[in-house]
């Protein structure tokens, strides 16, 4: 491949210098219609296997109380959403969000032949694979690879973290991980880094070395774009003091300053509650809910809630029956949450888990998680989900 081709294929062709990519001049490059209705997706990962049954509590079902003698949430403490299900009392902050119609709860999401290993199941959720299939690319990564209209920039997907999750890695394109845009900007403007990139045209047609240089150039350009676009924005909102809320605050800053990023990825870990679950999970759910509520209200204030869809998942739910240590062990199907200002079906999306019909003590899934992904890909990111998920999944009507 000659250099011109290389540059063309990576989307670097711009008027003037070959080394000033189009997105370095965002306002000029952007058509006016692109400035409005720019749809964002925020993926929130709860790591460790969140206990869905103590998150959205089936207080209307006696089996729940029989199976969870010491860790069930009492009916009077539940934040009731209908006569069957309600939220954990630590999720008070989401009550208002729910009442506003900004939240949808999807019950019993899973996949066939579920795996109980954290690692493997997270792998499955992040790659969107079958349970006996091993993919080395993530579902968002493959969305980036698809080279669609909505995913052409290297900063199309941002993870607010130090390292990049498999979900964000495609074959040829990958998302970018950063915690602090200013720090990344400083690092890519370090004299040594800049010197390495100077007039190094000779490498760009070589396979692996070219790939390294291409990654460096994209990182530098993205860092400049992200920093320059977002540094002027000052958030008026108050966020709770937590690492999770900080991640969301960064995402809000990016969205509100008009960054042309499509997908954001954040995570909260510690949900593997085998022992003395009530306090631990309660604390985490509070962190989650307080952070999410602040985030969604912040977006609303900035008129961005309509353009944002947030989806929360965990790698599996937990067994219906509690264990002997006042905790729960690894299970299967789990609930997912969807938030946004343009939800088609608000509230509780489908029937509550059927605790009377279990598969050796575990919930049976009603919906495949790839139907949720497929819906988002088709209806929100405007791509054909079969191109990303390797087969067509029926979409749902929550958006």
């Amino acid at each position: 491949m000659d250099r011109r081709n290389f540059l063309r294929n990576t989307g670097f062709v711009a008027a003037g210098s070959l080394f000033v990519p189009a997105f370095m001049k965002p306002l000029e490059a952007m058509a006016l219609d692109e400035l409005s209705l720019y749809k964002n997706l925020v993926v929130v990962q709860l790591s460790g296997g969140n206990d869905g049954l103590n998150t959205v509590i089936p207080f209307g079902n006696d089996i729940y109380y029989q199976k969870r003698k010491s860790i069930a949430i009492k009916p009077e403490e539940v934040i009731k959403l209908n006569d069957m299900q309600g939220l954990n009392p630590n999720m008070q902050a989401l009550r208002e969000i729910y009442d506003q119609g900004w939240m949808t709860i999807i019950n019993d999401v899973g996949y066939p032949n579920p795996d109980r290993s954290h690692f493997r199941s997270m792998d499955i959720w992040q790659t969107g694979s079958d349970s006996n299939q091993f993919l080395s690319t993530g579902w968002i990564g493959r969305y980036l690879d698809s080279n669609c209209q909505t995913c052409k920039f290297p900063y199309t997907a941002i993870e607010v973290d130090d390292s990049l999750s498999l979900a964000m890695k495609g074959q040829t394109k990958k998302g970018i991980a950063l915690k602090d845009p200013a720090a990344l900007y400083r690092n890519t403007n370090d004299p040594f880094f800049k010197a390495m990139l100077q007039s190094d045209k000779e490498h760009l047609d070589e396979d692996n070395l070219g790939y390294l240089y291409k990654t460096m150039i994209e990182t530098q350009s993205s860092a400049s774009y992200i920093q320059n676009t977002s540094k002027i924005y000052k958030s008026q909102a108050t966020y709770p003091q937590s690492g999770f809320a900080n991640q969301l605050k960064t995402v809000s800053k990016f969205i509100s300053s008009g960054l042309k990023t499509r997908v954001y990825y954040v995570s909260l870990s510690g949900f593997d509650t085998h022992v003395n679950q009530l306090n631990q999970q309660g604390n985490l759910l509070k962190q989650y809910s307080d952070g999410m509520a602040a985030f969604l209200k912040d977006l609303k204030t900035n008129n961005k809630l309509e353009d944002t869809l947030v989806v929360t998942f965990s790698e599996f739910g937990r067994r219906v029956e509690q264990n002997a240590s006042n905790g729960t062990d690894h299970g299967t199907a789990n609930n997912m949450f969807v938030f946004g200002g343009r939800l088609k079906k608000q509230g509780i999306f489908n029937a509550a888990p059927n605790l009377g019909d279990l598969d050796t003590g575990d919930l049976k899934y009603q919906l495949d998680f790839r139907q949720v992904y497929g819906t988002i890909l088709d209806k929100w990111l405007d791509v054909n989900n079969a191109d990303i998920l390797n087969k067509k999944f029926n979409t749902l009507d929550f958006i």
């Binding site: 790591s47 460790g48 954290h118 690692f119 006996n132 091993f134 080395s136 290297p154 973290d161 130090d162 390292s163 990049l164 999750s165 964000m168 990958k174 998302g175 970018i176 991980a177 950063l178 720090a183 990344l184 690092n187 880094f193 390495m196 100077q198 007039s199 190094d200 000779e202 490498h203 070589e206 396979d207 692996n208 070395l209 790939y211 390294l212 240089y213 990654t215 460096m216 994209e218 990182t219 709770p240 003091q241 937590s242 690492g243 999770f244 900080n246 995570s267 870990s269 510690g270 949900f271 593997d272 509650t273 022992v275 631990q280 604390n283 985490l284 509070k286 962190q287 002997a324 240590s325």
Partner: protein, 481 residues
């Protein structure tokens, strides 16, 4: 083709980068005087020695496992017993981390580089996670002991190891209730590769592995009463096949030699296999009755191994990068746990592969954050800098995180700042170099890709060897071998 001294220098360096973890300037100067085939012979010869890892104390592990098994079988535990159970898990996690560090240190200091490199290759090929450090060490030692021997022996030993039997659920594989996980991965990932077997072959062979399990001591155990000794049809053959018979039938198929040779080629030569070269290797491997040393010798003595498209063109794995750097500069890690943090941040936490398919490798190692980190690590390690990044929490550590989490204060997500706290032995390093060595010559030595004008210019105005070394190892070119 007549080799000049310089060509030989490049070849030996290439050989040691791929077959080992780099080479010191002193050794390189010595070996460059020899014919490359002789160097390959000597490399194979000196890697004959097998020196297992003996960090995990078997009797202590067995005692813990007995206690653990007792606790798991009880219904209601006292607080004392719960505490004991937690402590055992904690101890195991700690020993698992020590095991990781022991192996990384072994690779940094090894005198049998090819054997350790093969162990690393098989570690990714027979990828396995096991929380029990005794089992993990056992599997690692199997991969080391047989890594240059007979592939058949290696395959059987791995298949019979508690680590793998547990990881691929073979304890649940019983007569009348087969679990096909092991049989599937055996063919898909360990031998034949996708497309070279049918679902029926999996079903039938799974029956042959029923009853393959292990006892409390971690010794392989064949449970006859759980074994299905009925007739099986496997690849058109009919018989009362036992597990070993299945493995032999798989090895009779040349596709197995081809699959392994391609994987070896991708690991040692080039991410994009040249099918003609793979075929050469596969035929030789098959004819040698799966002798791994023969395969490696064939590869390292092939002219194409040293051809331009194969030198300085492969992206180092995080392990190769970290071990190579530490080895070259005689780095001591005063707080060895930093090695785990680095592995995890770079995406290759040894003993913790993403799944049974191992690490995908190649360009998958590189994204913006991992590349930025790789370019900063040399200055951190060689100049003892502060680490302001951290890897992701390992999913298996979630339970520990759950226990240690507090309600509010988590501003940095539970990831404290830390220092590398390592020392490079500069005196020792500089002693390996000729006194007259220029920064440019040092650059030629440390980098595998051909030098561009830009690099030549960058190092030519450099002050000394030490700062040159830090600069070179921070370059994207240093990511290649």
């Amino acid at each position: 083709m007549i080799m000049s001294a310089k060509d030989n220098f490049i070849q030996v360096k290439h050989l040691y980068n791929r077959a080992g973890f780099g080479i010191s300037y002193t050794d390189l100067s010595k070996l460059s005087k020899k014919n490359i085939n002789k160097v390959v012979d000597a490399l194979l010869q000196n890697s004959k020695k097998d020196d297992p890892i003996t960090l995990v104390n078997d009797s202590e592990s067995k005692r813990q496992m007995l206690v653990q098994a007792g606790l798991y079988s009880k219904k209601d535990l006292t607080d004392e017993e719960k505490k004991m159970r937690r402590e055992i898990v904690q101890m195991q996690n700690e020993v698992s981390r020590d095991l990781n560090i022991a192996w990384v240190s072994k690779m940094i200091n090894t005198e049998t580089p090819l054997r350790e490199k093969m162990t690393l290759f098989w570690h990714g090929h027979f990828a396995c996670r096991n929380n029990n450090p005794m089992y993990a060490q056992q599997l690692n030692n199997i991969q080391r002991q047989h890594g240059l021997g007979s592939f058949r022996t290696l395959l059987i030993e791995v298949s019979k190891s508690p680590a793998m039997l547990q990881y691929l659920n073979n304890q649940q594989n019983k007569k009348g209730k087969p679990n096909e996980n092991f049989a599937r991965e055996l063919m898909e990932l360990f031998t034949l590769g996708r497309g070279n077997y049918t679902e029926k072959d999996i079903k039938e062979s799974a029956r042959s592995f029923t009853g393959w399990t292990y006892d409390k001591d971690g010794t392989f155990l064949f449970r006859k009463n759980q074994h299905d000794d009925g007739t099986k049809t496997f690849f058109g053959k009919i018989g009362n096949f036992e597990g070993e018979n299945i493995i032999d039938i798989i090895l009779e198929k040349p596709e197995t030699a081809s699959f392994i040779s391609r994987k070896v080629y991708k690991f040692f030569v080039n991410d994009n296999p040249n099918e003609a070269h793979v075929k050469e290797l596969a035929e030789h491997f098959y004819q040698s009755k799966y002798d791994i040393s023969e395969l490696m010798k064939k590869m390292f003595t092939s002219e194409w191994f040293y051809s331009l498209e194969n030198v300085g063109t492969k992206i180092k794995s995080p392990a190769e990068f970290l071990i190579g750097l530490s080895r070259e500069f005689f780095v001591t890690y005063n707080k060895p746990s930093v090695l785990i943090q680095l592995q995890s941040s770079l995406g290759q936490y040894l003993f913790n592969p993403p799944n049974v398919a191992g690490w995908p490798g190649g360009q998958n190692w590189i994204d913006s954050s991992s590349l930025m980190l790789r370019m900063r690590i040399p200055s951190l390690v060689l100049n003892d800098g502060e680490i302001d990044f951290s890897g992701k929490a390992d999913p298996e550590d979630e339970a520990v995180i759950a226990l240690s989490r507090t309600a509010t204060t988590n501003a940095n997500n539970g990831k404290p700042k830390s220092y590398v706290n390592a020392n490079a032995d500069w005196t020792k390093f500089l002693d390996t170099l000729p006194k007259s060595l220029t920064p440019l010559e040092l650059t030629e030595f440390l980098l595998q890709p051909r030098l561009t004008d830009k690099i030549v210019k960058m190092v030519s105005d450099n002050k000394g060897l030490r700062s040159t070394a830090v600069e070179i190892t921070s370059m994207p070119e240093y990511q290649l071998c």
